[in-house]
């Protein structure tokens, strides 16, 4: 479904991703872990089509097509969804109508009829039950004044409404209480199917108890330095990242600590 080859990308003059190779097939769940600043969010943004991030070399193929040639909205309508690490507040834009517009934009793309507001209301309320968000949130502006955890749940609600083929979740578990974590996980697990793929960015192995990944990758300094199965996450939890890093970086980190 997604094939990333030797991807290099940066913001402005800063090179952040330094050659990523990643192959995700339909039906798989991949987790990406790695130290702060290693480029996890940058990778997520590249996949979503953030114009801030510039791809300098390499290829990304999605369902056989060139993903980098597509604008962010085209990707979204083609089934790519990225849950933001820091969801954006949009005061003045009603959450319900935003959800409906997004939903209908995709329907239209697929040649389906748009859903009218009443019908959509029913539909979205069902989805809200799954992620346990009160319908009050429909009346509010998108993310405006939402608590950290509420924003994350709203991302999952959007995902549930749009039912993407490829979902990229950037630290959706950070800042969630245990209940919310369970809810987010069940939202993701509902999406899990033979046709869909999921890429989870996380710092905590905790989430992976709820959503069991097929593969775990460690991203460090813009490169995937190790891949494995879910046991890799446990190992990281226990030992940290240092043992995985190349010697040169270990020393630097070591000196910093003194």
């Amino acid at each position: 479904m997604l094939e990333i080859k030797n991807l290099k990308a940066g913001i402005g003059n800063v090179q952040i991703l330094k050659g990523i190779d990643l192959d995700i097939k339909a039906g798989e769940v991949h987790a990406i872990m790695g130290p702060n600043g290693s480029g996890k969010s940058t990778l997520a943004k590249v996949l979503a089509g953030d114009p801030k991030v510039e791809v300098t070399s390499g290829t990304i193929r999605y369902l056989g097509g060139d993903l980098t040639a597509m604008e962010a909205d085209v990707r979204a309508r083609a089934g790519v969804f990225m849950a933001f690490q820091y969801p954006i507040e949009i005061p003045g834009v009603n959450n319900a109508s935003f959800l409906r517009m997004a939903f209908n934009a995709k329907r239209k793309q697929n040649g389906e009829e748009e859903m009218d507001p009443l019908e959509f209301d029913e539909f979205v309320k069902q989805k809200m039950k799954i992620v346990e968000i009160s319908p009050d949130f429909l009346m509010r502006s998108v993310n405006a004044g939402f608590s950290g955890g509420e924003k994350k749940r709203n991302e999952i609600l959007q995902m549930a409404v749009l039912s993407p083929k490829l979902a990229v979740l950037d630290e959706t578990d950070s800042g969630l209480d245990v209940d919310a974590l369970r809810i987010v996980a069940s939202g993701v697990n509902q999406l899990r199917s033979k046709e869909n793929a999921i890429l989870l960015v996380t710092h905590y192995q905790r989430l992976l108890n709820y959503i069991v990944p097929d593969f775990v990758h460690i991203l460090s300094n813009g490169k995937i330095i190790k891949s494995g199965d879910k046991s890799l996450a446990l190992e990281v939890e226990e030992k940290g990242y240092d043992w995985l890093l190349p010697c040169s970086e270990q020393t630097i980190r070591g000196t910093e600590r003194k």
Binding site: D50, E71, D73, A76, F81, P91, G92, V93, K106
Partner: protein, 440 residues
């Protein structure tokens, strides 16, 4: 432009320079007072305070017909009809190309003692009204609003007596059809007096249905009595070549409350002078404005709230959206005199610029001579946020749709609590159409 003009057109400057009231009016003393005031103020120039950014030359050089023919054709009637707001019950008085149009006006039910008549008729009957209006003119700061006092052709007088509440809101439809081929100019004046405890809702609906250039100089004077309450909606939907000078003066007595909403789009030049004077304590005013500018449109909102007595509250939110080479200015002065203790004011100006050539001038100003007051103000000008745009696009909204949603979201707060569904939906439709054009 000259193809449209007949020989009798002059410029607005010519008309003003003649300095003579039109003949045969029975409100000579009002005219004399305004003439005197106009002469004392002189022609505005860009060097005058309050006219710095306003294209005064363009205004003064607009072609104006001295007389207007006032027959509204069936075709004209048909054009106007969709704007009658018929789904809500209104009293309606319509002016078409400067003339009172009886056939488009309808008065349904006026409570006892309420007067709703042509200003010309009211002035004829009531000498004291003429004196009250003349007295107000001595303080008029805007020369062109003063000029309206000797040029106005007609208008409306509304009086609501003590403890009385209008059964129906009033819809003043002020339309330009421009089918006569003349250069158009209209000078209308409206006087509203709400006695103590009275209540009224008034829609001042300026509508341009022609791309021909025209000049509209309208003056509204509202006296809001003790405990009285006025809700006023000023809606300006002009043709592209329109020039509109609109002066609204509100005088609030003790405990009075004013809610004003102003919506404006189109027109090459629109100047709104919104002045509120607190004449009695504990009064309050809530002013909201939205202007949408495209191409070469320019809108100038000059707000002046005068806290002349203690304990009054004023709130202002003005938002502007400018695209193309649009220009917006909000110049808002809150003035608190020495005795105006415990005054409380809040001014907020927010501009959204959608193109590099658009301009916004935001000037919240304070003149405070009392020491125990609250006065907050803020102004911000910005563009659509890249992060917000990306967020919306990442959910499948096209670039255009995302820009539309953000722009509409910026504006919507101003109009969302309009209590009349017909007006709200007309304004919303108008906003959608205008914003649609801006984001392409």
């Amino acid at each position: 432009m000259s193809a449209h003009q007949l020989d009798d057109s002059k410029t607005y400057r010519d008309l003003l320079s003649a300095l003579k009231p039109p003949p045969q009016t029975s409100w000579q003393s009002l005219q004399q007072a305004s003439l005197a005031r106009f002469q004392a103020l002189g022609f505005p120039t860009r060097h005058h305070e309050g006219w710095k950014y306003v294209p005064v030359e363009r205004i003064l050089n607009t072609a104006c017909a001295e007389k207007l023919s006032g027959v509204v054709s069936d075709k004209g009637q048909a054009l106007l009809k969709p704007y009658f707001l018929e789904k809500t019950n209104f009293e309606r008085i319509a002016f078409v190309d400067g003339m009172l149009d009886q056939s488009s006006s309808v008065i349904k039910h006026l409570p006892a003692g309420v007067r709703l008549i042509s200003l010309a008729a009211a002035l004829e009957e009531q000498k004291d009204l003429q004196e009250r209006l003349a007295a107000r003119l001595t303080e008029e700061p805007n020369a062109l609003a003063a000029a309206n006092g000797f040029q106005f052709q007609d208008g409306v007088y509304l009086f609501v007596p003590k403890h009385q509440k209008l059964t129906l809101p009033i819809h003043l439809l002020i339309a330009q059809l421009g089918h006569h081929g003349n250069a158009l100019s209209q000078h209308l004046r409206f006087a509203v007096e709400l006695a103590d405890d009275a209540q009224a809702e008034i829609v001042c609906d300026h509508l341009g249905m022609t791309e021909q250039s025209y000049l509209s100089n309208t003056v509204f004077e509202f006296t809001v009595g003790r405990h009285a309450r006025l809700k006023c909606f000023n809606i300006e939907r002009h043709g592209r070549a329109a020039i509109h000078l609109n002066a609204m003066r509100f005088f609030l007595k003790e405990d009075a409350r004013l809610d004003l909403l102003s919506y404006s789009h189109g027109g090459i030049t629109t100047r709104n002078d919104l002045h509120v004077t607190f004449e009695g304590p504990n009064a309050s005013c809530y002013l909201k404005g939205l202007a949408v500018m495209n191409d070469d449109s320019q809108t100038f909102q000059h707000v002046h709230v005068k806290h002349q007595v203690p304990n009054c509250t004023s709130r202002q939110v003005f938002k502007n959206i400018a695209a193309g080479r649009g220009v917006t200015e909000v110049n808002s002065l809150v003035h608190m005199v020495r005795d105006a203790q415990k005054s409380d004011s809040h001014q907020l100006i927010r501009n959204l610029l959608l193109s590099p050539a658009a301009h916004a001038y935001a000037r919240p100003q304070l003149k405070i001579y009392a020491d125990d007051v609250k006065a907050a103000h803020g102004a911000a000008t910005g563009q659509l946020g890249r992060e917000e745009l990306f967020y919306l696009k990442s959910r499948g909204l096209s670039e255009k749709m995302a820009r539309f949603v953000l722009t509409y979201g910026f504006a919507e707060e101003i109009v969302e609590d309009i209590p009349f569904p017909t007006i709200r939906s007309q304004i919303e439709t108008d906003m959608k159409n205008e914003i649609e054009k801006l984001v392409t």
